[in-house]
């Protein structure tokens, strides 16, 4: 079993690295389409988001519908930092610090919110996380932040009220969000962050802590009876997950020159959940593959014009049925066993 897990993880790393190498070769030889090239960073970001959510949904067994809220926090925190220090720090160190800040702030929020919220179960937890994501969205939506010679100014009302003095510049402008964030995200950094995320999640899961987390998921009362601290480990999983969600947010914020809260609504939280479930709950590699497939799919369907999202929806349903319906699973197993039997004969 151990060996199998190890092998499995190595395959995941190898696939990511192979993907990276293939893409890099295509980029250097110029044989990559603009679309694909533009998709590379978002793919990494969604994969990170999915893997991190899998820690909560798959391994900790809690349904969170507010993952996008934490990405939002990471994105805003890091983007504000980058905008403020744009002129005073060199690019790379600034971005590295931005990643840390995004992760940290999202993690701190995850921790604070997790304390009360993780007492709830199942669908109640889901709705509270969803609510939390919506609150974040609403608050950032009306947040204005500017800097002038006197320092930073914050307002949750109208930017009109915020009178900026000499050398004033708006950094966050309500619904318009943050524009002109330095575009520091790159495919290479994205891949490194994805590898790091996978590394953290799979190593965590296959450790003492991870065992405690999964045990609590499987049977909370039994877990308590063998002395596991339920709150501590749930909170730990949640906090690590939100921290990594923050990292995904940082990648997003530094990939486009427009950052608004619109992306970070419950639809995105749900979309990430779709990646996790479609890829197989608790299956890290599946999460990544599902994130890639479902992010790329609407782009590949562009040729279908008006029917694009319709077909996307249909494909999603069909994939779900194929992956999850017991009847489909039996069917697949039968085919598989027939196939392997034939091989034996040969």
């Amino acid at each position: 079993m151990k060996k199998k897990i190890f092998k499995n993880n190595m395959i995941t790393y190898a696939l990511i690295i192979a993907f990276y190498i293939v893409m890099q070769v295509m980029i250097t030889t110029g044989s990559i389409s603009s679309l694909l090239q533009g998709l590379l960073v978002p793919l990494c970001m969604y994969a990170i988001a999915a893997v991190s959510l899998n820690l909560v949904v798959g391994f900790s067994g809690e349904l969170s519908l507010g993952h996008a809220g934490f990405m939002c926090i990471g994105a805003y925190a890091s983007a504000i930092f980058s905008r403020v220090t744009e002129d005073s720090l060199p690019d790379l160190p600034r971005f590295l610090i931005a990643i840390l800040i995004g992760a940290l702030v999202a993690g701190v929020f995850g921790f604070l919110i997790g304390i009360p919220v993780l007492r709830l179960r199942g669908d109640y937890l889901a709705i509270v996380t969803l609510a939390f994501g919506e609150i974040i969205k609403n608050l950032f939506n009306v947040l204005s932040l500017g800097k002038d010679n006197e320092g930073l100014h914050v307002s949750f009302n109208d930017a009109a009220v915020m009178e900026l003095g000499e050398g004033g510049e708006k950094i966050v402008d309500g619904a318009l969000g943050i524009t002109g964030t330095p575009r520091d995200s790159s495919f290479t950094i994205g891949i490194i962050l994805l590898l790091l995320t996978v590394f953290i999640v799979v190593n965590l899961v296959n450790s003492r802590t991870g065992r405690a987390i999964t045990a609590i998921r499987d049977n909370r009362i039994a877990a308590e009876s063998i002395g596991l601290n339920v709150t501590k480990y749930k909170l730990m999983a949640f906090t690590i997950s939100t921290t990594l969600a923050g990292v995904a947010g940082v990648l997003y914020a530094h990939n486009l020159s427009s950052l608004t809260v619109k992306l970070f609504n419950y639809n995105t939280s749900i979309l990430i959940l779709v990646f996790v479930v479609l890829g197989g709950i608790g299956n890290v590699r599946g999460s990544i593959i599902a994130a890639i497939v479902l992010t790329a799919l609407p782009e590949l369907l562009r040729g279908m014009a008006n029917y694009r999202m319709l077909i996307y929806a249909l494909l999603l349903i069909v994939m779900m049925l194929f992956n999850w319906a017991p009847a489909a699973i039996h069917f697949r197993e039968r085919i598989k066993s027939k196939f392997s039997k034939k091989q034996e004969v040969v």
Binding site: I200, S207, R208, R211, T214, A215, D218, S225
Partner: protein, 252 residues
């Protein structure tokens, strides 16, 4: 000093006095039985002892230390482990991992050590594997260490629960109907194993069981519960011949 001392334990649900003024006292190393008709409150006593329910009244002392009202987790840390009447395994985990989860507190390393795979991780994990297999071996489950716990037959699941409880290195082990769902032959084997555990793991055992062969075969002393109250207690043979016990519980 007594291993376990319970005084005047009470709990009621709504109007029902599920456990009423219950006393119990068990010496170190004893194999003690708790019997009584269905719904008498035996499982509830276990739940009170392990902090699943908080008693309305009463005191629970473990080796003289008051553990009344502590959380389940803390009570386990203090040295009480249990099995459940309706099996509660970590079904999606392997047999080995079920046991390793219970070794959690005995073999420590930091979360970060685990993520970074520092040498301490490998050392402790290896030690855990060895310890877990050793425990599984006692119950003849080592061969199935890689099976998902939920996929095992009923009888083996019961045994695995005992192993898991044992892995927390308890002073007091509470077994709730360990033989339920086992056939007579399996029950016979189980009796041997329970005795072996008591002798070799320096653990005191309190068990609930309806199988009189098992009870009379291994329990040294018994307490009989009836309608939440103690009916009688004493040496096994005496209790089992008590006419009141026969009337209320054994029949014939």
């Amino acid at each position: 000093m007594k291993m376990l001392e319970v005084k005047n334990l009470c709990i009621s649900f709504g109007g029902l006095h599920a456990v009423d003024r219950f006393d119990l006292s068990i010496d170190k190393g004893q194999l003690y039985g708790l019997i009584g008709p269905n719904g008498a409150g035996k499982t509830t006593v276990f739940n009170l002892l392990t902090g699943v329910y908080k008693p309305d009244e009463g005191i629970v002392k473990l080796e003289g230390k008051d553990i009344t009202g502590l959380k389940t987790t803390e009570i386990n840390k203090a040295g009480v482990a249990r099995t459940f009447q309706n099996i509660r395994l970590f079904k999606e985990m392997t047999v080995l991992d079920n046991v390793k989860a219970a070794l959690h507190r005995s073999y420590r390393y930091q979360t970060l050590t685990g993520i970074l795979r520092l040498p301490a991780y490998y050392k402790q994990e290896k030690a855990m594997d060895e310890k877990a297999l050793e425990l599984l071996e006692v119950f003849d489950l080592a061969g199935e260490s890689e099976v998902l716990a939920g996929n095992m037959p009923y009888g083996k699941q019961r045994k695995l629960e005992i192993v898991r409880a044992l892995a927390t290195n308890p002073k007091l082990l509470l077994l709730d109907e360990p033989a339920a769902g086992m056939n007579p032959q399996e029950t016979g084997e189980l009796m041997e194993t329970i005795r072996f555990v008591r002798d070799n793991f320096e653990v005191t055992i309190l068990l609930i069981e309806h199988d009189m062969k098992l009870v009379s075969g291994i329990c040294e002393e018994l307490t009989v519960l009836n309608f939440g109250e103690e009916l009688t207690h004493g040496k096994t043979t005496e209790v089992l011949n008590n006419p009141e016990v026969i009337k209320a519980y054994l029949g014939e």
